[in-house]
Amino acid sequence: MSDALLSARGLGLRFGGITALDGVDADLWPGEVLAVVGESGSGKTTLLNVLSGHMAPDAGTVWYRDPAGARHDLRAMPAPQLRALHRSDWGFVHQNPRDALRMRVSAGGNVGERLMAQGSRNYGGIRAAAADWLRQVEIDPARIDDVPGTFSGGMLQRLQIARTLVTHPRLVFMDEPTGGLDVSVQARLLDLIRGLVARLGIAVVLVTHDIAVARLLAGRILVMQGGRVVETGLTDQVLDDPQHPYTQLLVSSVLQA
């Protein structure tokens, strides 16, 4: 646990009569992808929000280990520090890219913003970095001055990814990154994410209801039901040989290609 990048113990959260999280433990190591799967209402999105510091749990703690090796209790972290973390070392890819992008700012401006927020003051350099990242997410760099309103859903999501990764975060939270996209677009995007994550050594907490996405991207998996983790382990092991009845149900309900 001591060299895990992110650790959670005993997380609990209730909304009135509804249990969103109950006794949840989780660990994330540097460079690994952890998938959190379950149906709607399983608590997976709530877990993501608690792990990223967007929501405070009623019980339990989340620790983050910074690049210097120091451990921080997220709840004790002052708001400005958490915000700074989200702009540099951490990233968050939203299900709907319109929630994260500035729709009236050009693609280049969107990608360059985090650089400018961190103090980059060379226009040429910012533009070059933005063009490079557009290329890496397979958007034609000639569109650097185009406004995202003209982009397709898949392109918007790729732009969001570029905007998030431009500061080389060590840890990225992803909330259903391929939700709402059609199947062929999803496949291309998943391939892209897999390549980038592996090449850059980013740790990812990935929330998805889609087992196939988990299998493709994640090394380890957490299966949630009713706010509890019912099964956890290496993705292939859990999905090939599910122990818990709920996991078995999830796996068996996936149509075999």
């Binding site: 927020a117 003051r121 226009y123």
Partner: protein, 279 residues
């Protein structure tokens, strides 16, 4: 009825002075203050007037300019207001004034120590057009999160080749706070930094006061490879021949004939008088 000196009661002046002190202690930071309704409308200089009322003393000599001129209607109106409620001596000579209230210009003549320049500010929040929520901009100032402002500059350069903002050009004060210098032309921005006089900014309707103490570093936002460049009309003043002052364009007939004249009437008048004397 007789009014208190400079219209406001002493409690109110004290409240305003406390806000000013906070502003001077934290250069460029907007300090909320309990702006009062004044007999002039919001948007017409009530912030500047309240700041002025709080710092004015019986021995002060007051100059009021609008668009650089002493004789524009609102400058006249404000000067009269203080003449009536404070009985202070007034002047049109920049060098003779101890306190100057200005709208949209910085005088051409460099100010000296001991002078106070009071700016009228319509919109104190430099990021207002980019982020309408004051709660959010307050957070951005508190955390020094100014990326959004630079995004705007980036967008201008990407689209037009240069920054499109020509007045009310945002500045970084003392390396910490992003500030609106009020709608002075960008041409005047270089005068803000290192000024020997105290600069006070009052926004009555928005209820904010801020300040730049003497000899403070003030930098207009730019990129290393697209440095800030102040712009003025190319040409010389038709009255005094100045090629360095900010010029107003005057259309002199209905065929579009135009000429350029210094916006700062005191500066122009002085130069013209010196030239006449020399001849």
């Amino acid at each position: 009825m007789t009014y208190n000196f400079a219209y406001l009661d002493e409690q109110t002046k004290r409240m305003i002075r406390r806000a000013i002190l906070k502003g001077v202690a934290i250069p460029g930071h907007q300090v909320p203050f309990g702006s009062r309704e004044m007999p002039l409308p919001y948007g017409w200089g009530t912030g500047g007037i309240q700041v002025m009322a709080a710092v004015l003393g019986p021995a002060d000599v007051l100059k009021v300019i609008d668009q650089g001129a002493d004789d524009t209607t609102n400058a006249v109106s404000i000067r009269r207001f203080f003449a009536r409620t404070a009985g202070v001596q007034t002047t049109t000579r920049t060098a003779e004034a101890t306190v100057i209230q200005t709208r949209h210009r910085i005088p051409e003549v460099p100010l000296h120590e001991g002078q106070i320049l009071v700016y009228q500010v319509p919109m104190p929040e430099p990021m207002a057009k980019l982020e309408p929520s004051r709660a959010e901009t307050r957070r951005m100032h508190g955390l020094a999160e100014y990326g959004l402002m630079h995004v705007k500059l980036y967008e201008d350069i990407a689209r037009l080749g240069h920054v499109s903002t020509s007045y009310d050009f945002p500045v970084m004060v003392n390396g910490r706070y992003l500030m609106s210098p009020s709608p002075i032309p960008a041409f005047d921005n270089p005068k803000l930094g290192g000024m020997a006089a105290l600069q006070l900014f009052g926004a009555g309707r928005e209820k904010r006061i801020y300040a730049v103490p003497p000899y403070t570093e003030v930098r207009s936002l730019d990129f290393d490879d697209h440095p800030f460049r102040p712009v003025r009309a190319p040409g010389v003043c038709a009255m005094c021949g100045s090629g360095t002052s900010y010029l107003d364009e005057v259309v002199t007939d209905d065929r579009g004939t135009r000429m350029f004249v210094c916006s700062d009437t005191d500066y122009c008048g002085e130069r013209a008088a010196m030239q006449d004397a020399a001849e």
